[in-house]
Assembly symmetry: C2
Homo-oligomer: 108 residues x 2
């Protein structure tokens, strides 16, 4: 298995009902993760892109959170519909999707 | 929350008994993850290092697996006792711990 050119980390943290901190799980992160895995398969990019689900990535209020390394770009409020743009623009064309980046107060 | 200088991803994947693929969970990855979090606290490195647990990182046969970005260095067979060296040598001094790197066939 080669080291990927891009490694996508998708937060799938959940928290109990009533927990004071929001979680990506409350905001449909599971379908975001599934969409990343689905498009990885459809596009057959296993040799260059890796997708991994994670525990809390930090900016919970801004979730669903998606972090791409090696650049260390943090996206927030990612929906299933945004995943194609992240593949097309960032993962395959090295142009991070500016509209989805979290504000600098959360990750800079 | 600042973007970390080093981001440590610790696989905590588990699999059912009898599953044909080994898992990091079978090999005490939980105590490895706890040791990374414990030393982060003891050393008060929250402003420069982030630790996140993950699903499967790939080289299951070589686990427990620990991946450090932005370099993309994959360590294998990491024990609780190895964590201090990863902090001292790699995370704080930019010298990856050669003896813990997985072989190139697993990540290169």
């Amino acid at each position: 298995m080669p080291k990927p050119k891009k490694h996508v980390f998708v937060c799938v943290q959940s928290r109990p009902m009533g927990h004071p901190r929001p979680s990506c799980s409350q905001k449909n992160c599971t379908e975001v993760a599934e969409e990343f895995y689905g498009q990885l398969q459809q596009r057959q990019l296993f040799d260059q892109i890796q997708v991994t689900t994670t525990s809390c990535l930090g900016p919970c209020s801004e979730g669903p959170s998606v972090l791409v390394y090696p650049e260390g770009i943090m996206y927030g409020g990612v929906s299933k519909q945004d995943v194609a743009a992240i593949y097309d623009e960032h993962l395959l064309n090295d142009q991070p999707v500016e509209r989805l980046k979290v504000a600098e107060e959360f990750w800079a």
